[in-house]
């Protein structure tokens, strides 16, 4: 994605030679970048950015900054906020590096982290609670369920993105919360769009439709609020809203009225006619990989309606990243500008024009031409990510388990240093001594892979486990990071409805440090961020249905039978008339004889005393 940034900047420099400083100062801009990906996917990145100066913000003078969010931030003393809603998974193997270098995405569900201004930890917690509850209402998400057990204070993984000139580390607190089970859906999109100055009525936001967005193979909505202080000039508060989604072109092209993928009529099938058995009723399907032609309105279900009048006119609203040699047809009133890098082009749109874009299919190569050249022409080759990560559970059963993360460094010559962060629920008790990193193909464990571990153990029902590991992976190698854990048994009432589904475990966050770290610059801190998929942990769940009852019942029966038998084996039963008699009269007699003895002894003593007295 760095490529994209470079080209973007290049373009800015080219077109904005008049007012370079206005890039930061411009109050609002929006941009959509479309990038076709392999396997007939299309990445659409929507980016909306607006600024307000800090002085105006503090004076409650909101212009482009959404008032509803601004008031929440002020009330909760929030200096910087990052909120993510994500669904699906990014297929790094085929799609390459993540958009924005992974900086604008979260794990499945909802993720929230913020820097709060507070003097003590308790105060920070209180403000955090205020913030999550308010955001929960604003975004129609269950953010209020981010309680103490789901909140952590990461130590190494996150650094502030904005400039915080007059704050110290003692009074800003970073809190991080995640809800892996939260299902992101249309009710979260509507409030998201409402924060935009044009509210989704004009500009690129008109393309955002719940049906398409949530049918995407992967999507991530992000809100980032941070103070930015340029070297010269006043500090501004910047809000950046990002939506990234990967659409399956074939699926998106289906008409909305008929979304069922019925088998097409036989003559419409794309067949590989080179097969010897090819016939009217026999069809080997042509490669799924085959390129598709698409239209913007087909993919998004509607046209883009004009441009938002508030946007900075110098930033082109739509860009497309396909090789420069590919032809693209656009509607009237749209101006195509190819960028110098040869892999991207942008479109300038007349204020009243609707944008329609057609990317025609590339015809298969002529006979004799190598097939590979088509692929090269068709798409911009995806960039290889710095690291591949895959996490899964090991083991089976209800008592113990393990987590295994496979980390692969694809680079042939440079090593990767990163921080691996896990936030686990308290009922997964990890055995820290079992944490082990080994390089695939080398026996034994390599201690030098793990450089630093920060571990904060869980407290039952109070807080979750926090684990941060700084590691270094040598070039072109695969590392297995494993640890074991024990599953706790929950109290009866602590099980959620649908307890047999299992419990979601949040994605691990992997922050790759840029090679020249240790500079305090926050943007230079993380070179790339990625998240693993979330996991489903099944805990022992009480089950009161038939088999359970039967097992309990039979075990009881066996235990009773054993008890009775054991008694028969070791005891001798005798009838009451056979044993020593037990009755009240007998008891009386025994008591009397005991008392009699005592009396006798007393009498003897008194006699002895008398005898002695007599002697004296």
């Amino acid at each position: 994605m760095r490529q994209y940034f470079l080209s973007f900047l290049l373009f800015l420099f080219a077109s904005l030679s008049l007012c370079v400083s206005s890039v930061v100062a411009a109050d609002y801009h929006e941009q959509l970048v479309l990038r076709p990906l392999p396997l007939s996917a299309l990445l659409a990145s929507f980016n909306f950015r607006s600024n307000t100066s800090l002085s105006e913000f503090e004076a409650h003078n909101f212009r482009f900054f959404p008032r509803s969010l601004g008031q929440i931030l002020q009330h909760a003393g929030t200096r910087e906020l990052h909120l993510r809603f994500s669904l699906g998974r990014w297929d790094a193997e085929s799609w390459g590096a993540r958009p924005w270098d992974g900086a604008r995405e979260g794990g499945t569900g909802v993720e929230l982290w913020a820097w709060l201004e507070a003097d003590t930890d308790d105060e920070a917690d209180k403000k955090w609670r205020t913030l999550t509850n308010a955001l929960s209402g604003l975004f129609c998400a269950s953010l209020n369920f981010i309680d103490g057990t789901r909140t952590t204070r990461p130590v190494m993984s996150f650094r502030p993105e904005g400039n915080h000139p007059n704050s110290t580390s003692t009074n800003t607190h970073l809190l991080y919360g995640v809800l892996p089970h939260e299902v992101v859906c249309t009710e979260n999109l509507t409030p998201f769009l409402k924060l935009l100055p044009c509210k989704g009525k004009a500009g690129i936001a008109t393309l955002l439709d719940g049906h398409k967005l949530f049918d995407a193979s992967w999507q991530s909505m992000a809100i980032d609020v941070r103070p930015v202080c340029p070297a010269d000039g006043e500090c501004v508060l910047e809000i950046e809203q990002t939506i990234d989604m990967v659409l399956d072109i074939e699926r998106s092209k289906r008409p909305r009225g008929n979304p069922i993928p019925r088998p097409p009529p036989g003559h419409e099938l794309l067949c590989d006619t080179s097969k010897p058995y090819h016939a009217d009723d026999t069809c080997f399907p042509a490669d799924y990989n085959a390129n598709h032609d698409w239209m913007l309105s087909q993919i998004f279900g509607k046209n883009m309606k004009g441009i938002c009048p508030l946007t900075n006119p110098s930033v082109p609203p739509v860009c497309l990243q396909v090789p420069g040699s590919r032809s693209v047809y656009v509607s009237n009133g749209v101006l195509e500008k190819k960028n110098a890098d040869g892999v991207s082009r942008c479109f300038e749109i007349q204020p009243d024009a609707d944008l329609e874009m057609v990317l025609p299919r590339i015809d298969p190569p002529a006979e004799g031409e190598p097939a590979q050249s088509v692929e090269v022409q068709e798409l911009v080759k995806p960039e290889t990510p710095l690291l591949y990560a895959e996490r899964s559970f090991t083991g089976h059963g209800q008592e113990r388990g393990g987590v295994q993360t496979i980390l692969r460094n694809p680079s042939p010559d440079s090593e990767v240093e990163f921080i691996y962060m896990e936030t686990l629920p308290w009922f997964m008790r990890i055995y820290l001594h079992t944490i082990e990193a080994r390089i695939d193909g080398q026996a034994g464990k390599q201690n030098n892979l793990i450089e630093e571990v920060y571990y904060r153990p869980a407290l039952d029902r109070a807080r979750g486990t926090q684990l941060e590991v700084r590691m270094r992976i040598p070039p072109a190698s695969t590392v297995f990071l494993t640890y074991d854990f024990e599953k706790s048994i929950l109290r009866y009432t602590e099980y959620p409805p649908d307890a047999n589904r299992g419990f979601d475990v949040a994605a691990a966050v992997i922050t790759i440090l840029s090679p020249d770290t240790h500079k305090s610059d926050k943007r230079g801190f993380a070179a790339y961020t990625l998240r693993t998929t979330s996991l489903l942990c099944s805990l022992p769940t009480p089950d009161f249905s038939m088999p359970y009852n039967v097992i309990i019942f039979t075990s009881t029966a066996v235990a009773l039978a054993f008890g009775g038998m054991f008694n028969i084996l070791v005891r001798r039963f005798v009838a009451a008339d056979e044993g020593p008699e037990v009755s009240i009269s007998g008891l009386k007699q025994r008591l009397r004889s005991r008392l009699g003895k005592v009396f006798e002894r007393l009498q003897q003593k008194t006699k002895e005393v008398k005898v002695q007295q007599k002697k004296d």
Binding site: S40, L87, G88, R89, D91, E93, T108, F214, D215, A216, S217, D248, E250, R251, P261, R262, P263, P264, G266, E268, L269, C271, K275, Y277, H278, D280, D281, T282, C283, F284, P285, D287, Y288, S392, T394, G395, H396, D498, A499, N500, R501, D504, T533, S534, L535, L536, D543, M546, P547, N549, V550, I551, T554, A561, M565, F573, A575, A576, D577, E578
Partner: protein
């Protein structure tokens, strides 16, 4: 109450009470068997029902068909072209086809050694990632290249390729779908499932390169026949008699029958009139399979990991084509896709007697428990009896039982305990022998062992009488301890594998009535011959002859099941049943020391 208690205590001293246990034991066995035979009646069995509402079987339209048939034919051609190729070549081609569909493909090697044979191969599988899902849950579609009878599963493999292409088009999957093609029906799936749960021995089975989330269910397609089919045969027996959740079977029955109009059958009952004899036969076949605990198809290996799975086999002459089979699979997958939770609602312990009739564990368990209880009753009776002086000879002559009962005889425990312990530990020998002998040695080893087995009781008995001269009481104690162990083992086993416990209990039931015959050589010989006829080895030979199998096949299968699937039936046979049989045979051949008895009666 005290009067009742003392009455009971007086009754306890009644010598007649000691005559009761053998009859009680016999009654337990009879009631247990009759109970089982009553189960197929309408009064004792129940109609099946869908317990998990989320499944909604047969509630969705299935669209598989139309031009997918053209694709199916093409894949069929591709599969036919691979028929005589090696496993690797087949997988290379399958991999390229599946990759062409845009799925991720993984391969896994495995090598198992069993009975001196090497079972190796390579699994190939593909993961269709749920379009909007996170890798948290998955369902599996399996087709073995060769089915359990070593027939080529051409249609099955082609069908899952076509279904993979078809499923890819849908965006409604909430779980990943894994398509697995294994070279054989038992070892391949076993290796794959073991590796999926990281329970594999990495020296023999490779780890999986690709993984998804928790497995929620699996369907195996075993579609061998080339012509159109009539019905679907559902195979559901897991390893060690574990069964999939009844809801899964019900869903398939419901989808095939209610939606597609395809009838379903169980346990190779190709015709079923839903009358008592057919029901009984279905149930007994199911019990036998469950009792043997062998893997019956690719689905069997999934069940021990709590992944509910069945194999679907089309059969018969009819008018249903491959697309109908595909729609059944599609419907089942749509149902499984609806699941919010792991299948847990319905029964895991049941006996099916028709596709829509079952008995649950609460109804059938008493029969196995009664059979197991007969051993315990007898064991307790013998223990009590052994503590009474000369009870076995002098019952009739007792003039004053009340006085006599206060006198208890000291039990000489050492020898009986020793004999029973030795018998139990001897069981490890055949267990090791039959699971580690190479294939060529299996049959000779078996016949040598069988003949030794016939001589062993005589040898042990001779050693005992010569060196230890056990008394009648000690024989009683030997029998008591061995029956006690048997009863304990079987009643616990009945909760895990009902059928195995019942069958072993029934075959071992003559042991309850065995006793030394010091003065009746004819009786002793008769008992010995009878016991030899119900010895584990003899039962094995008789069973093999009845089902037209060679002993060699049976032994090889057993060793394979032990080595690959972890079947525990051999442990039950050699460490529970055989020691009890040995102890029983020794008792029959016993010659209690006469002097001892005389001394006591004097």
């Amino acid at each position: 109450m005290p009067r009742l208690l003392s009455g009971a205590l007086r009754l306890r001293r009644d010598p007649r009470i000691l005559k009761l246990p053998p009859y009680l034991s016999l009654l337990c066995i009879l009631v247990g068997v009759v109970w089982l035979f009553l189960l197929p009646r309408d009064e004792y069995s129940r109609r099946t029902y869908i317990s998990e509402n989320a499944l909604l079987p047969g509630q969705v339209h299935t669209y598989f068909g139309g031009s997918d048939q053209n694709v199916f034919r093409a894949y069929k051609h591709e599969v036919n072209a691979l028929v005589d190729k090696s496993n690797i070549e087949i997988n290379d081609r399958l991999e390229s086809i599946i990759k062409g569909l845009g799925l991720k493909v993984g391969r896994q090697n495995f090598t198992y050694h069993s009975a001196g044979q090497v079972h190796s191969g390579e699994n190939v599988y593909a993961i269709l990632q749920a379009p909007r899902g996170d890798a948290t849950e998955a369902i599996v579609l399996v087709a073995a290249w060769k089915n359990a009878k070593e027939e080529l599963n051409r249609n099955g493999v082609s069908l899952i390729l076509t279904l993979a292409r078809y499923f890819k088009r849908w965006s409604l999957w909430s779980k990943d779908i894994i398509f697995l093609v294994t070279p054989d029906s038992i070892a391949g799936p076993q290796a794959w499932v073991d590796a999926y749960h990281d329970a594999h021995d990495s020296a023999r089975v490779d780890s999986l390169p690709l993984k998804s989330g928790l497995l929620q269910g699996a369907i195996a397609v075993d579609y061998v026949q080339e012509h159109r089919f009539e019905s679907i045969h559902i195979v559901y027996d897991g390893v060690n008699g574990q069964l999939p959740n009844l809801d899964l079977i019900n869903s398939v029955v419901n989808i095939a029958g209610g939606q597609m109009g395809i009838s379903t059958t169980l346990q190779e009952m190709w015709r079923h009139d839903d009358k008592y004899p057919d029901r009984l036969r279905t149930m007994l076949r199911g019990m036998l399979k469950q009792g043997l605990g062998l893997a019956s198809g690719p689905h069997s290996s999934f069940i021990p990991y709590h992944v509910d799975a069945v194999t679907l086999q089309p059969f018969g002459e009819g008018w249903q084509d491959e697309m109908a089979m595909g729609r059944v699979v599609e419907g089942t997958f749509r149902s499984l896709n609806n699941l919010l939770e792991h299948l847990h609602q319905s029964f895991f312990f049941y006996l099916l007697m028709q596709r829509e009739r079952f008995v649950s564990i609460g109804t059938y368990l008493p029969s196995a428990m009664l059979v197991a209880a007969n051993f315990t009753i007898m064991a307790i009776a013998l223990w009590v009896k052994s503590g009474q002086p000369g009870a076995e000879v002098a019952e009739g002559q007792e003039a004053k039982p009340a006085e006599k009962s206060n006198l208890a005889v000291e039990r000489h425990l050492f020898l009986p305990l020793g004999v029973v312990t030795v018998c139990q530990f001897l069981g490890a020998l055949p267990l090791y022998l039959f699971n580690h002998a190479p294939e060529s040695m299996l049959t000779p080893a078996f016949f040598i062992f069988s003949s030794l087995n016939m001589a062993l009781p005589h040898l042990l008995s001779h050693l005992l009488t010569t060196y230890y001269a056990p008394s009648a009481q000690q024989y009683q104690l030997i029998k008591s301890f061995s029956l006690l162990l048997l009863g304990m083992f079987l009643s616990s086993l009945a909760t895990l594998n009902f059928s195995l416990a019942f069958l072993v209990g029934l075959l071992a039931s003559p042991l309850t009535f065995m006793q030394p015959w010091p003065r009746a050589p004819a009786m002793r010989t008769a008992c010995t011959i009878f016991l030899n006829a119900v010895a584990p080895t003899a039962v094995l030979v008789i069973g093999a002859t009845y089902w037209n199998l060679s002993v060699d096949t049976v032994l090889r299968e057993a060793a394979f099941a032990w080595d690959v699937c972890g079947t525990y039936t051999p442990v039950v046979v050699w460490c529970v049943w055989w020691p009890a049989w040995l102890a029983g045979s020794v008792t029959v051949l016993g010659r209690p020391d006469e002097r001892d008895i005389k001394a006591k009666t004097a």
